[in-house]
Assembly symmetry: C2
Homo-oligomer: 266 residues x 2
DNA sequence: CTTGACTCTCCCCCTACGGGAGCATCTATA
DNA sequence: TATAGATGCTCCCGTAGGGGGAGAGTCAAG
């Protein structure tokens, strides 16, 4: 039997953390004195603790770890780990891009140039109406991939085929919210039936965004500045057209996205 | 002049976030109505907001960003960014190692083997006393690199030379604490003067840990299990000897660290 | 039997916001 | 111009993963 302090030293985890893990039921001491509340651990629990630490290093949340170690379903563990490795690999790529961008920015700083120079070219145009098939729901930007998958599934179920690029329309006229926005994902189709709709926002300002989606807000900022300069006012739901995306290229640096904002003049 | 909602849509940042940034003084609206408290932004502030978002994507905290954008010292910005890129690169490498380990673990799961198998070989030995030159202070594990730099600086200032590997001695006999532990970093020397001390912990159990330091706690857990099995009790400050570290190899997978825990028998 | 080390619970703190209540204000339309 | 509905305000609470510290109780060695 080890006191919490001894156990703490052997597993290199702070006493605070051990008490926290006890509280949330992640790892409870073998014995807790009813009178004094003192926690006593067994050396065997070091193994369990090491597993917890390893899963933590894999970025599982404590709740996830709790689930994973208290079940015997090795398939669940396997599936979760596959998911995490995929996340890590994704992050590996995005970190590499980020480092590249940081080097770029540092060069700019050395040359006394501002990091952020809005170099999006903005134009105004009457948007040529398109016929779209879409799904609309509350979602986060991170769910786009899955939502597009499901969209294409439904598309084929309905016997349709894509006839052009896909779109995201930001229907949310209220607060913009990163985690829970009212978004319609859609794709151009040739058919005209009751499951499709005509997307006809009218006069828009637009710009082309090249590169990964991480800097997409800069396109919106450019549109905002342009509207200010030209006395235009927002007029409806902005939308994005993914002209070159993961379907066309593996390298996010080559993505091309058209960003549109419907406008009106007072 | 843009209301907070309009500004929010143009910079793709939630209203909540904008109010938060106002509150902490990161970006304040150009005009705030004294009567109503309504916030009004200028489109020019989109530029500032984009800079904030970019720095945020570089993992600066909001406080750091506040400092960086409200100073004109481009050297500070440059230095901070260099630091961050270094961090990202470090993370890139550690992520790659992590992915490798996850693949390994997944293989083990598929073969129905437990992920954590304590395969450290533990032995007991009388530690051969060594003469060390060290600095002792409260620090975090993350500060080791810098602290060792400073240690070697002092070493040379005192006209000494390293005569063996370096050590970390965990003096903290109280709570183990990740962020603030009482640690003595030291290096073997040949001289015997009042600035050096004899490190003579006596009987110890020890094990060799191979690989990066991320899994070092497993070595401690192994020592803990061994002590349990052999009826030994902890007896003083545990310490690590870095036999093969970044000085000898570039690949953390090849690191070799001796982990010692002084013991006594009751 | 004392003393110092250890442990307990409880409460507040951190980051970077999100949710929601309750109320005020703005603006487009009738 | 009246009014409804959209938008805005402040205030309070919650999150994850603990850290810091107060105040009180407990354990073990001399």
């Amino acid at each position: 039997m080890l006191s919490i302090g001894e156990f703490s030293k052997l597993c290199r985890v702070s006493v605070k953390t051990l008490r926290h893990y006890d509280q949330i039921g992640l790892i409870k001491p073998i014995h807790t004195d009813r009178q004094t509340g003192y926690r006593y651990y067994e050396p065997q629990q070091l193994n369990e603790m090491m597993l917890i630490l390893r899963l933590k290093s894999y970025r599982f949340s404590l709740q996830e770890i709790k689930l994973l170690i208290h079940t015997d379903d090795s398939n669940l563990l396997l599936a979760s780990m596959r998911e995490k490795t995929a996340e890590f690999e994704e992050e590996l790529a995005s970190h590499a891009r980020l480092i590249e961008q940081m080097r770029n920015d540092m060069e700019k700083i050395k040359r006394r140039k501002p990091i952020m120079e809005m170099n999006h070219i903005v134009t105004a145009e009457e948007f040529r109406a398109v016929r779209l098939f879409g799904v609309r729901k509350m979602m986060a930007i991170a769910e786009f991939d899955a939502a597009f998958q499901s969209l294409f599934g439904k598309l084929f179920q309905n016997g349709m085929k894509p006839a052009g690029p896909s779109y995201a329309i930001y229907r949310d006229e209220e607060n913009f919210n990163h985690e829970n926005t009212d978004i319609e994902l859609a794709v151009e189709v040739a058919q005209t039936d009751e499951k499709t709709f005509l997307h006809d926002p009218g006069l828009c300002c637009m710009t082309v965004h090249r590169g990964s989606y991480e800097n997409l807000h800069e396109a919106y900022a450019s549109l905002g500045m342009w509207m200010q300069e030209h006395g235009a006012k927002p007029n409806g739901a902005p939308f994005e057209r993914y002209r070159i995306n993961c379907e066309q290229t593996d390298n996010p640096e080559n993505y091309e996205t058209d960003v549109y904002y419907p406008i009106r003049y007072e």
